[in-house]
């Protein structure tokens, strides 16, 4: 059918564009920019580039020439966050191109590794040898192998490293082609590429007491190709499309040296080290990076208009995900060569996931007061990745855990039925609905959960040109059986001892009661004044959960105001308050078996209180010539980790954390623009952006903490002003 459509396109004349020819619109701005203040923190420039000196804030060239319509636009040309758009249109053909550079700066820290080949984080061999010898000598002595001894050695390792800048530069480009050979037929094609380059923070463990944060190199890209077609008829619309996405990682693996080992070794319990019992471990680790993958997605949809204001819509989507990257070896620790030799690995995983999704919905308004809606949806993710038998795994490359294993290809299917009825009572409207969903999973604690929800809504006018909207939802999720042994045991060939709280429940499957409500009111008490207020509540309780997430709640209240008293100036303001909290419980079991001492139970209530406020004003100081804009936004977020444990247990006394991702953020901006004469304008702007973060992890944290080299940058405070001036020419 697609070929027939294409032939028809070739044979038919393009649809003529209606006249008149659109006027040209061109604009170019040149500017100067400067920055002053404390901008050391990467967060000042997290997603943007603030240059100093000459800038090209924007340009636009558009018009009509030689039968073509064209647009060429750009913003912040030459900067790390530059963006470009281009369009060329002739007749029924429209071609668009885009280029976006998106920085994501993640901070600066110190890595213990020197500069080397990409993907090879190496230490000087002499340094590894010296540290290993010192640690082995310590263990051979009566003195303990503790943080006080290791910290100076770690200092030697850190001095051999260097500062490193974390961040990912993302470049997204695309080319779109749209054809409209007939009024009722639209064809499209698209090619896109998304590339990433930089370093992100990750970690590698060599033992439970030896973890190293690293600046992991990122060099990858995704190619996307898509085609689509839409056919409009008097009775509705039919559409279809096909898309391919191919992700390619240019870094197959990451090899990381162990700062505490120069020789490969293993010993019982080595993965718990280094300890007074053993310092054995691998001298380096080979880590898998994210594998290449391919995805093909086909979708089709139709919407049919029927009598009695009835519409039937059907959509289907079929996706095939494949991953066949080469598997690395089971371990690089030569001391484990014997135990690991029994592993017969395939060259590639041949990973496969098939996804089928179908949705059919019917909406009808057979008479003016009544509206009906029904929807059936099925989503099936079938993970067909083969199960690979393994004689065991190398724990942190330190020991071979000879427990036969199979990988676990999780699949799930969701089937949903929903219906709603709406009725008009005068100028008010009331709606009620029901939703039922079955969620079947494989290899999880439950085979199937069932979620049933009832909804109600009321909306209508109020005096003073007002409006009120209320909504409430009540839902309950349950299951017929929950076995906490199923998921951990799915990867083990043989029965294994239980090492997790049997009464624990995972909140994605646990019995859950949900109450969600929202209210929104809008008033226009004066002709030029509009007020709005809203409140939303989300309460979730997991009543059968003895351990795990027990409850969450979220409250959001907001108010907005906008005023245009005389047409020459307008103002707006908003305020919002959010309170979110979650309550969870667990029992600490320090020994290899579950603790039966109830004093080992500890509770955590984690909460965030957030206040957001903003205001702005825009004024025509001299009508048609000079405008002034002022805008400010402030947010205060206070987190709290409130712990409780019984005295005498483990933990004995829990200490709350008050500085828990506490953030203050303020942004104030002002701009004055003046039209000097026709086609020329000048503008000056100033923007202050400041942030202050207080968190427990900031408290004089060294770069080597007990058991880990910590790279992560912790300087999130900044406060700087950006000054800009620009001249704009329009013609």
């Amino acid at each position: 059918m697609l070929i027939a459509l294409l032939l028809q396109v070739i044979a038919s004349d393009p649809v003529a564009r209606p006249s008149p020819v659109p006027p040209s619109a061109n604009e170019i701005s040149l500017g100067l920019a400067g920055v002053a203040g404390d901008r050391r923190s990467h967060e000042f420039l997290e997603y943007r580039d603030v240059p100093q000196g000459v800038t090209v804030p924007g340009f636009l060239l558009s018009g009509h020439a030689a039968g073509f319509d064209y647009d060429l636009a750009g913003r912040d040309a030459g900067q790390d966050d530059q963006r470009f758009r281009a369009r060329l249109g002739v007749g029924a053909v429209d071609i668009r191109a885009q280029l976006d550079d998106i920085p994501h700066r993640l901070g600066e820290g110190r890595t213990i590794f020197g500069r080397g080949a990409p993907g090879n984080l190496a230490l000087a061999g002499a340094l590894q040898r010296a540290v290993q010898d010192a640690v082995d000598a310590r263990v051979a002595s009566p003195a303990p192998l503790d943080y006080a001894f290791l910290a100076p050695l770690a200092g030697d390792v850190l001095r051999g490293g260097r500062d490193v800048r974390l961040g990912i530069e993302r470049r997204e480009s695309g080319l779109d082609l749209a054809l409209k050979p007939r009024v009722d037929l639209s064809l499209s094609a698209r090619y896109g590429h998304r590339g990433r380059d930089g370093h992100r923070l990750s970690g590698v463990g060599f033992g439970l007491r030896n973890a190293v944060e690293v600046a992991e190199p990122i060099d990858d890209g995704t190619h996307s190709v898509a085609v689509g077609a839409e056919l409009e008829r008097s009775w509705g619309v039919v559409s279809g499309g096909l898309q391919y996405d191919g992700y390619r990682n240019h870094l197959d693996r990451l090899v990381v040296d162990n700062p505490f080992r120069a020789d490969d070794a293993t010993a019982p319990g080595a993965h718990l080290g280094p300890t007074d019992l053993t310092t054995a471990a691998a001298r380096r680790a080979e880590v898998s990076t994210l594998p290449d993958n391919d995805a093909v997605t086909a979708n089709a949809g139709a919407s049919v208009r029927l009598p009695l204001r009835t519409r039937v819509t059907a959509d289907a989507s079929f996706a095939r995900w494949r991953q066949s990257d080469t598997l690395v070896g089971i371990t690089t620790n030569t001391a484990l060569a014997g135990p690991a030799a029994g592993a017969s690995l395939p060259a590639t995983l041949d990973g496969a996931i098939d996804i089928d999704s179908q949705t059919v919905s019917v909406t009808s308004a057979p008479w003016s007061r009544l509206s009906l809606r029904g929807r059936v949806r099925r989503y099936a993710m079938d993970n067909r990745t083969p199960r690979v038998p393994l004689p065991g795994v190398a724990r942190l490359d330190a020991v071979f855990e000879a427990v036969p294993r199979l990988n676990v290809p999780y699949s799930h299917t969701r089937t949903r039925l929903e219906a709603s009825v709406g009725y008009g009572l005068g100028s008010w409207r009331v709606e009620a609905g029901h939703r039922h969903e079955d969620f079947a999973r494989t290899f999880r604690e439950t085979e199937e959960t069932t979620d049933a929800a009832w909804t109600a809504a009321l909306s209508g006018p109020l005096p003073a040109d007002g409006h009120l909207r209320l909504h409430y939802e009540r839902a309950h999720r349950g299951f017929s059986a929950y076995d906490s042994r199923l998921s951990p045991g799915a990867s083990r060939v043989n029965v294994h001892p239980v090492r997790s709280l049997g009464a624990g429940r995972r909140y994605d499957q646990a019995v859950r009661d949900l109450d969600r409500a929202s209210a929104r009111i809008e008033l226009a008490p004066l002709p030029a004044l509009v007020l709005a207020a809203s409140y939303a509540l989300d309460l979730r309780r997991y009543p059968q959960t003895a351990y795990g997430l027990v409850s969450t709640r979220a409250h959001v209240a907001s108010a907005d105001a906008a005023i245009t008293p005389a047409g020459r100036w307008t103002a707006h303001a908003f305020y919002a308050f959010e309170l979110e909290s979650g309550f969870q419980r667990t029992r600490h079991s320090p020994l290899p078996s579950i603790s039966i001492d109830l004093r080992d139970i500890w509770d955590a209530r984690l909460s965030d209180r957030v206040h957001s406020v903003g205001a702005g004003i825009a004024a025509d100081i001299a009508p048609g010539r000079t405008t002034l804009r002022l805008d400010a936004s402030f947010q205060r977020s206070d987190g709290l980790a409130d712990f409780f444990s019984q005295p005498g247990g483990n933990p004995d006394l829990a200490l709350d954390i008050a500085d828990f991702d506490d953030v203050r953020w303020l942004s104030i901006a002002a701009e004055l623009e003046h039209r000097v004469r026709d086609g020329w304008s000048v503008a000056a702007s100033a923007m202050w952006d400041g942030q202050q973060v207080r968190d427990v992890i900031d408290e004089d944290r060294p770069e080597y903490v007990p058991g880990a080299f910590v790279l992560a940058p912790r300087d999130f405070d900044y406060g700087a002003v950006v000054l800009q001036a620009r001249v704009t020419r329009r013609w």
Binding site: E46, R194, R196, V204, L208, E232, V237, A285, V287, S288, A319, W321, V328, T331, A343, L345, G351, I355, S361, T363, S371, M381, R395, V408, Y410, S459, D465, R499, S500, L501, E522, A524, S534, V556, S558, A562, A576, G582, Q584, T586, S589, A604, L606, D608, V610, A618, R629, D631, S633, Q635, S637, G639, F643, D656, D661, W665, P702, V705, P706, A708
Partner: protein, 230 residues
């Protein structure tokens, strides 16, 4: 972000448009527009969450009064238009850990279809996970060792609109992990103030926490990655 004159005016006009009895009978207010614009991109408008809540074309667009870009919006930009009703989302996008919406790099339509789609939350793809994978294709897999919640639903751990807890987490690590992982030894240990700050901070304490060793939280393709450590 500097707001132009059109923004504040847009807010007034927008709110006024919503006020004037549009919830009672949306069809007449959208019918004229849908006569021409009822194509595949607006197939799901009728019966959509917006349409059922009384939002009409004029609630967001300025069809004849000029505006910005291809689809003239009353509030001057897309995010401000959406925030007029979705005020709670505005607060989240201002959080310190966020997608770059407040920075002008992304917009609400980067992940949602405001004219309606076949999917929940007006997502362009059948699930939130498939929507996320449009930009984060590196996490698609499938992997040799899967992390079940990551395969099932990204929003079990992440809040895509914004969070106080990096990276866009619904709760801070390690406590987020400890909601599900109730195993003996270190997964069940409490990391309170005594071992979360200063030189006494434990290697599994807040910040990267569990991820220092369990680096492959979205899935591992390493034969020894059963614990997502490789």
């Amino acid at each position: 972000m500097i707001r132009g004159v059109a923004v504040a005016v847009g807010c007034v006009v927008f709110l006024g448009g919503v006020l004037r009895g549009e919830a009672a009978e949306p069809a007449p207010r959208t019918g004229a527009c849908l006569d021409c614009h009822d194509n595949a991109r607006r197939t799901h408008w009728v019966g959509s969450r917006h349409e059922r809540h009384g939002v009409t074309c004029l609630s967001c667009h300025l069809p004849h009064q000029g505006g910005t870009g291809r689809a003239p919006l009353k509030a001057g930009n897309e995010a401000d238009t959406c925030y007029t009703c979705h005020a709670s989302i505005r607060s989240r996008t201002l959080r310190t850990s966020r997608h770059p919406v407040r920075d002008g790099v992304m917009a609400c339509s980067s992940c949602h279809g405001p004219h309606g789609t076949a999917n929940d939350a007006m997502l362009p793809r059948p699930t939130s996970t498939e929507t996320c994978l449009q930009c984060h294709a590196e996490l698609r897999g499938p992997f040799l060792w899967e992390h079940a919640p990551a395969r099932e639903d990204c929003t079990l751990c992440h809040d895509a609109h914004g969070s106080s807890h990096r990276p866009l987490l619904v709760s801070r690590v390690p406590y987020l992990c400890q909601r599900c992982h109730l195993n003996v030894q270190h997964p069940s240990k409490l990391f309170d103030h005594s071992n979360s700050g200063g030189s006494g901070v434990a290697r599994r304490a807040p910040e990267q926490a569990c991820g220092r060793c369990h680096r492959a939280v979205h899935g591992s393709n390493h034969p020894s990655g059963a614990y997502l450590e490789r």
